[in-house]
Point group: C2
Chain length 200, copies 2
DNA sequence: AAATATAATTAACATTGTTTATTATTTTAA
DNA sequence: TTAAAATAATAAACAATGTTAATTATATTT
C-alpha cells in the first residue's frame, strides 16, 4: 500500500505544535527553545527544521490556536444574558482571566517582538482586531440608537482594546497592581468607564 | 597626591552608562549587549563586570535618566497655557512623541521582562506612576470642583495610563495602526475620551 | 537484495551573558 | 628608586541559544 506522506507530515508537525503550545501555556516564552520543544515532541532539535522554517513559524501557528481557545472561553460566559453592558462585563472578565492565567500567551500576542516580517504579518492585524471581534456585539447594542453610533462604537472599542491591553501589560509584566483582586476591580471599573461615550 | 578613586570609578561607570544610553536611544534593546556596550565605552566586555553587577543593573540606571529626560520634554510644552484640558492634550502628545521617537526606551519601560527581581524593583512602581506625575495636575484642575473629585481623578489617570500605554504598545510593537498620522489622531481622540468622567 | 531517496540526528558555528584565570598597571613600602 | 603588593583590565573559557552542514539511519524503489 502507498504510504500517506501527507498524513505523516501532518502528524510530525502536530507533535511539534503541541509541544510548543504546552510550553507556552505552562512555562511561557522564556522557557521555549528549539531544544525544549524538540525534547517534548520526542525528537532531536534539528528535526524541527525539517518541518518548519524556524522557531518563529512554529510560534505563529500557535497564535491562531490560542485565539480560538480564548474566543471559545469568552463565548462560554454570559450565554443566558442578552447582549449589552452586563454581558460585556462578564466577557471582558473572561478575556482578562484568560490572559492572566496564561501570561505566556499574552506575551506572545502583544509583547513579543515578532522578528523580521513581524508587524507586516497578517497575524498582527488579526490580534489588533481581536477585542473588536469579542466585544463588538455588546458595544453595538449600547450605541445602536445613538446619533453617530458608528463613530462612538469605534471610540469605545478602541478604548477597550487599549485599556485592557495596557492593564494586562502592567499586571502581567510589572505586577502593578500587586494584588490580583485589586487588579480585577480596577479592570472592571475601567471597562465601565470605556462605555461612557454611550451614555453621554 | 592621593588619587581620587571615587572620581575614577564614577568616570568609568559614566562611560558604560553613556554607551548604554546611546545604544538604547539609537538601535534599541535588541542591539544592546555586553559586547556592544563595552566596545562603545572603549573597554573590554569583561571590564563592565568590575563596575556593574550585570547588564541589567546598567540598564536600570538608564531608566531614571530617560524618565528625567521625558519629563523635561513634556514640561517644555504648553508652558504658556494654564493647566487643564488643552494643556493636557499637548503634554500627552509630547509624551507619546518621546516614546515613538525612541521605541527602544518604550520597550525598556513597559515591555522588557526585567529579570529576577524585576517587578519587585521600585523602578516598576515609579514607571507605573510616571503618567500620573506628568498628567496629574491637568486632570486635577478638571475634576477639582466635582463631587467625588478624588475618585474621578483616579479613574481618569488610570484610564490615561492604560490607554496611552496600550496604544503605544500596538503602534511601536505591531505597527497598528500603520500610519503615524492616523495613530496620533486616534491617540488624541482617546485622550479626550478619557476625560469624559470629568464632564458627566 | 542492492541502490537510491528520505528522514533524523550528530556535529559544528555564531552569538549571547557570565565567571575564572591571567596579564598589565598602579600603588605602597623598603 | 625599586621590589612587593594590590588593583584593574583583559583574555580565555563555559553554558545556552538559534541555525546550518555533514553524517547516519531508515524507507522506498528497482
Amino acid at each position: 500500500m502507498a504510504p500517506n506522506k501527507e498524513l505523516q507530515e501532518q502528524r510530525m508537525r502536530g507533535y511539534f505544535k503541541d509541544a510548543t503550545r504546552e510550553i507556552l501555556k505552562g512555562e511561557g516564552l522564556k522557557a521555549l527553545s528549539v531544544r525544549t520543544v524538540a525534547e517534548r515532541a520526542g525528537y532531536s532539535f534539528a528535526t524541527m527544521y525539517n518541518y518548519f522554517r524556524d522557531l518563529n513559524e512554529l510560534i505563529f501557528l500557535c497564535v491562531n490556536d490560542f485565539m480560538e481557545e480564548c474566543e471559545t472561553l469568552v463565548n462560554e460566559v454570559g450565554t443566558e444574558m442578552e447582549p449589552g453592558r452586563e454581558r460585556l462585563n462578564v466577557r471582558v472578565k473572561a478575556y482578562i482571566s484568560y490572559f492572566t492565567q496564561y501570561p505566556g500567551i499574552f506575551e506572545l500576542f502583544f509583547v513579543e517582538k515578532m522578528n523580521d516580517i513581524g508587524s507586516k504579518h497578517p497575524t498582527a492585524r488579526t490580534i489588533y482586531e481581536f477585542s473588536d471581534k469579542l466585544f463588538g456585539e455588546d458595544v453595538e447594542v449600547l450605541t445602536g440608537a445613538l446619533p453617530y453610533a458608528e463613530k462612538i462604537n469605534r471610540d469605545i472599542l478602541d478604548n477597550l482594546r487599549h485599556s485592557v491591553t495596557g492593564m494586562l501589560l502592567f499586571y502581567n509584566n510589572r505586577l502593578q497592581p500587586r494584588d490580583y483582586r485589586e487588579f480585577i476591580a480596577i479592570a472592571l471599573r475601567q471597562t465601565e468607564l470605556c462605555l461612557a461615550p454611550a451614555y453621554a
